[in-house]
Symmetry: C2
Subunit: 372 residues, 2 copies
């Protein structure tokens, strides 16, 4: 078990990472001085698998209220949010109440947003149960819901009071979900830490076998990078944008396929490959580094094919997502492994031309065998 | 025209108060460096009266988008909120967009909450057009919406980037609305400043005649007090609770009459009278001060009668609103004019007995002629 502190002044908090983080929840929750048992927001599948450990870890707080929401991205809606508020009022929640979210990113995002806005903000503890949520959405305080026009368009910054990342929950995660989370891990390493990229290259087989100490290391290191970035730029004014590496094209691919073909992490996998290939085209990165990251990305998990995705859908989504600023598109790009910068003057025509070619044959940008 | 600075560190802002604050909007808005014209959120009645002045004051920003919501408390709902989000997306609002709310507390609260949560927070400027909104809801950053279970139960703290309090808009305010706002002004004076109470006693006739410089003085002084309190306790951890003077019983009266009989300010008027009379019963305040404030409150405006309001409805609402903390009820009470404290150990039985008697004959607690 390891702990990691996220330094955000008065909003600092501790992440507990390890194979027994849920049953040992009290270690980080007790010092927070809650006067009541939590309101646990979760979904049925996750609660059946991991609810027992969590209730064990929290038994000294007395009986918790358990509120289940539907399983899946479509439940990250304002309908679910308002059901949550009303359920909380029904069970007489007040400003001293606290929310504990047990689940993946959907549960954490909506439960966190409910916490941010219920009676103008109550505390919440996040217990993420997917790799993606453990390495990404649990650090940084971004919470929110989707609206029909797009994902996460309504939300807030609301830091958790603690995070419980129990890597034993990853044992029951479908392979595809694990892979999707690992793409975000690769992103985190790629933008900040060459040694972490090296670790991933060496340890990928043990990570994919879900060895507890390999997973623990991955979660701690990814959270450490994200915490460092976020603590320097909590409200995403500048530096934090490097966390969007791979997301410009990634988001556009998700939107162009109506969020059906790709898991978010998979879209980011493709988005990173595109950003790397485009970066090399612009002479921003050397061939060797591009090939090295391409190889790592392709070893993580198979990526759903780009077949049939036309430039028009991708381009429309990209332009809607990224507002042009006086002529240029803003995009996170690597200058080396472990070094990312925000390029603000990407020429739209050049990017569009590149994407036409990349969508048609992404393999052409990498050496044979580099992409599976 | 006067300006007042609200000091909240990085969230500090300026309030412009005066008879031409709308047409001179650029003076405080220009330095904020917005890149776009505002999205003006308003209602039809207000916009017809004052939209022209505002558009005049903002013309150098180019054409504004105007989004109208319904007029009245029932529109401070999540249905309206989601219509706002979708309308903003339809007109391609993004993180650089800003909201300008033109209207009373309903418009300011919901527009402010939309700003707090749209794409995790965009900036907003508040142009309150009622006395209540100018002296109360425009300072302090409380924004939110109602749910069927109660008012303001969903919300956030989101400070405006500037406030434009144009007292000429008060010229068209119905008498009853002006009175409702003045009760909150009396509250502000009573908890913080004996000289301000003295000013109100002397100047009430000129205020009720809506003389511009009297209104300007009232708004500036009330905002100054509130800004001082809020800057010491932005998130309502302690001191800020004194702003709830008169609200314990006031909220309960509003809820017990289904928000139909009283304007909020009127309920606060009764709530202050109750808190004063109860305070004297407890020996917390001298007869003379109680009589003096009772007289001022009764001069402000006629209060709707308490007739037919039973203790059960009031008590249920009060207990739901104020959670008992280990036996005692928490309540803001005066110890002298200009001095308020949070009493945490009010005996529920004693308060209930007092309320039975007060509801039956409030006049018995004040000298003949003190209450109209």
């Amino acid at each position: 078990m390891k702990t990691l502190d996220v330094n955000l002044g008065a909003r600092s908090y501790t992440i507990l990472v390890g194979g027994r983080a849920l049953t040992r929840a009290a270690a980080v929750v007790e010092p927070l001085g809650f006067e009541t048992a939590p309101i646990i927001i979760t979904n049925r599948t996750v609660f059946e698998l991991h609810g027992g450990s969590l209730l064990d870890g929290l038994k000294r707080f007395g009986p918790s209220a358990i509120v289940e929401i539907g399983d899946g991205e479509r439940f990250k809606s304002h309908q679910t949010l308002f059901k949550l508020y009303r359920e909380m009022l029904r069970i007489r929640a007040d400003r001293r109440s606290w929310i504990l979210s047990l689940g993946g990113g959907v549960v954490g995002d909506i439960a966190g947003f409910a916490a941010a806005t219920f009676m103008r903000g109550i505390r919440f503890v996040n217990a993420p149960t997917t790799l993606l949520a453990q390495v990404d959405s649990s650090v940084g305080g971004k919470v929110g819901i989707n609206v029909p026009e797009g994902k996460n368009l309504v939300g807030a910054f609301h830091q958790p009071s603690a995070v419980l990342s129990d890597v034993s929950t990853l044992g029951t995660l479908p392979d595809r979900e694990l892979g999707a989370g690992l793409f975000e891990v690769v992103k985190t390493a790629a933008i900040w830490s060459e040694p972490f990229v090296g670790y991933l290259e060496r340890s990928l087989p043990r990570i994919l076998e879900r060895k507890a100490n390999a997973l623990e290391h991955v979660v701690v290191e990814a959270c450490r990078v994200k915490a460092e970035v976020v603590s320097k730029d909590e409200r995403e004014q500048s530096l934090r944008m490097i966390l969007n590496f791979g997301h410009t094209v990634g988001h556009a691919l998700e939107a162009a396929t109506a969020y059906r073909r790709f898991k978010h992490g998979e879209a980011v996998g493709w988005g990173m490959l595109a950003a790397l290939a485009f970066g090399r085209t612009l002479g921003r990165m050397d061939d060797r580094s591009v090939a090295r990251l391409g190889r790592l990305i392709s070893r993580v998990a198979p990526l759903p094919s780009l077949r049939g995705i036309g430039i028009e859908g991708v381009w429309t989504a990209l332009c809607r997502d990224k507002k042009f600023r006086s002529g240029g598109i803003r995009m996170a790009m690597l200058s080396a492994i472990g070094r990312c910068e925000i390029v603000t003057d990407v020429d739209p025509d050049e990017l569009r031309r590149f994407l036409v070619s990349f969508l048609a044959s992404p393999g052409a940008y990498f050496a044979p065998g580099d992409l599976r």
